[in-house]
C-alpha cells in the first residue's frame, strides 16, 4: 500500500490537500497552542506561520532523505533532534531579523518543536515518501497553517485594535474589543471560523445531494 502510494505522481492536489482539504488547523485541529496564543496581531501570526513552515519543510525534507538510513527503533528520537535543530536555527534567525517580532512571539518559537503537526507530517508522510513529494506536501501544509493563523490574526487585530498590520482601519470613534486580543478572543474567533467552514461544508453537501436527486429524477 505504502509502495503504491509512493509511486503516485506529484499533482496540484498534493499541495492543495494540506492547504485546504486537510488544513492542519481548521480540519485536523493540530498545533492549537500557537494558533490561540500568538494570533493577537496579523504580524505575529504571519511570523509564526512562516517560522513553522520553514521548520516543517526543512525537517520533513531531511527526514525524507534519511528515511532509509534511520532504523525504526530510533525514528521518533531522530525526528525530534532534526526538528529541534531547525527550531533553533529559526529562533536565532528571527532574533537576527527583528528583535521586536522575537519579543512578541516569546517562548512560542521554541515551542514549535512540540508542534504535533510537524512530527505528524514527518512520521505519516515524509518517512514514506520521496523528497520532491515531501517538500510539496510540507509547503502545502505550511501554507495551510499560515493561512489559518492569518485568518485568526487579522480578525483579532481588526476587532481588538481596529487595525490590520498596524494600519488603522476603523474610524477613531471605534471602541476596540479588547477581549479579542486576550486568550478568550482566540477561542471565539477560532470557533467562528470553524462554524463558517462547517456551514460551507454542509451547504456543499446539500447541493451535491440535491444535484444527485435531480439527476435521478430526470432519468
Amino acid at each position: 500500500m505504502a509502495a503504491k502510494r509512493e509511486q503516485e505522481p506529484i499533482t496540484m492536489d498534493t499541495f492543495l490537500s494540506g492547504l485546504w482539504r486537510e488544513n492542519p488547523v481548521f480540519v485536523m485541529l493540530l498545533g492549537m497552542c500557537p494558533v490561540l496564543a500568538v494570533t493577537n496581531t496579523t504580524e505575529n501570526a504571519l511570523a509564526m506561520g512562516l517560522a513553522t513552515t520553514f521548520v516543517l519543510v526543512c525537517s520533513t525534507g531531511l527526514v525524507s532523505i534519511l528515511r532509509d538510513f534511520i532504523p525504526k527503533e530510533v525514528r521518533i528520537a531522530s525526528y525530534i533532534v532534526i526538528i529541534a535543530t531547525f527550531v533553533t536555527v529559526v529562533d536565532y534567525a528571527i532574533q537576527a531579523i527583528s528583535l521586536e517580532i522575537y519579543n512578541a512571539l516569546g517562548a512560542f518559537i521554541q515551542l514549535i518543536v512540540a508542534n504535533c503537526m510537524i512530527l505528524g507530517r514527518a512520521e505519516a508522510f515524509a518517512s514514506r515518501q520521496p523528497l520532491g513529494k515531501t517538500l510539496v506536501d510540507a509547503l502545502g501544509v505550511g501554507a495551510g497553517f499560515t493561512l489559518a493563523l492569518l485568518c485568526l490574526g487579522t480578525v483579532r487585530e481588526l476587532l481588538g485594535a481596529g487595525e490590520i498590520l498596524g494600519v488603522q482601519v476603523f474610524p477613531d470613534g471605534f471602541e476596540p474589543w479588547v477581549i479579542m486580543l486576550l486568550p478568550p478572543g482566540g477561542f471565539f474567533v477560532l470557533a467562528g471560523w470553524l462554524l463558517l467552514f462547517a456551514w460551507l461544508k454542509e451547504r456543499q453537501n446539500q447541493r451535491a445531494a440535491a444535484a444527485k436527486e435531480a439527476t435521478a429524477d430526470g432519468r
Partner: protein
C-alpha cells in the same frame, strides 16, 4: 509442531543492532550540533548589533535632545567609562546633545508586574533633578490592558518632569515616587495611574522609586565626571 507449521509462521524482523542505533543517533546529533553552532556563530554579531541599536534608541527616547551615548560604571574611583573597566555594577548611560553637553542619564530598573518581570529604562536630568522619560524594554503585560504602560498619554505624561530631587543630606529622594489613582496627583512624586492597568502602573511607580532612591544618592558628586565628553 509440524514441519508445515514452522515454515508458515511469520518471521519477526531481526532487531537492529544497538551499535547501529547508537551510530545513527550519534551521527544525526553531530550534524545537528554542527548546524546549530554554525548558525549561532553566524548570527551572534547581528543579534548583538540589534540589541545595541535597540538600547541606543531607548536611551535617545528617554533623554530628550540626546544624539550621542556613552556608558559608565560607578566604581570606587568614581564614574569610569565602561570600555575602560572590568568592574561590574549598574551601567549608567549618559546622553549628550549635538554640542557635547550632558542632556541626562538613562538608568535601568526592573520589578514584578502583573504577568512577569517588567524591565524599563528611564531618563534623569541632573539640571532639573527630574525624570524626563521612560521606555519599557521588556514586558509580558496583558495586551490591551497592562501594556498601556507603554502607550497611555496621561501616565507617560505624568512621568515626564516627575520630581526626583534629593533631600538636603543627599541620602534619599525628597518626595517618594508612587502611582496614584488617575487625576489624583497631589505630591510632586505622584504618577497618574491607569484604569484597568492598576498593577502594571503601580509596578512602574515602585521600580522608579526603588531605583532612583538607591542610585541617585550614589551618583551625587559625580555629575562633573560625566561632562568630560571629548
Amino acid at each position: 509442531m509440524s514441519a508445515a507449521d514452522s515454515t508458515q509462521a511469520p518471521q519477526a524482523p531481526s532487531p537492529t543492532s544497538s551499535l547501529r542505533l547508537v551510530f545513527t543517533l550519534g551521527l544525526i546529533a553531530l550534524c545537528s550540533g554542527l548546524l546549530v553552532v554554525s548558525v549561532v556563530e553566524w548570527t551572534r554579531p547581528i543579534i548583538a548589533d540589534n540589541h545595541e541599536r535597540a538600547l541606543q534608541q531607548a536611551v535617545f527616547d528617554v533623554i530628550p535632545g540626546a544624539v550621542e551615548r556613552r556608558d559608565f560604571v560607578l566604581t570606587e574611583q568614581g564614574l569610569v567609562p565602561k570600555e575602560e573597566t572590568d568592574a561590574r555594577g549598574e551601567v549608567i548611560h549618559a546622553g549628550y546633545t549635538e554640542d557635547g553637553a550632558l542632556a541626562g542619564i538613562a538608568l535601568e530598573a526592573s520589578g514584578r508586574g502583573y504577568a512577569d518581570v517588567i524591565r524599563i529604562l528611564y531618563g534623569y536630568d541632573p539640571a532639573c533633578e527630574c525624570i524626563v522619560g521612560m521606555s519599557v524594554l521588556e514586558s509580558q503585560e496583558t495586551p490591551g490592558l497592562g501594556d498601556r504602560i507603554e502607550t497611555d498619554p496621561d501616565f507617560l505624561g505624568s512621568i515626564e518632569g516627575l520630581d526626583a530631587s534629593l533631600t538636603e543630606d543627599g541620602t534619599e529622594l525628597k518626595h517618594g515616587i508612587r502611582t496614584v489613582d488617575p487625576g489624583e496627583r497631589e505630591e510632586p512624586g505622584d504618577i497618574d495611574g491607569i484604569t484597568g492597568a492598576t498593577v502594571s502602573a503601580e509596578a512602574i511607580g515602585d521600580m522608579l522609586h526603588r531605583s532612583a532612591n538607591k542610585q541617585l544618592p550614589q551618583l551625587q558628586g559625580h555629575w562633573s565626571e560625566l561632562e568630560r565628553n571629548e
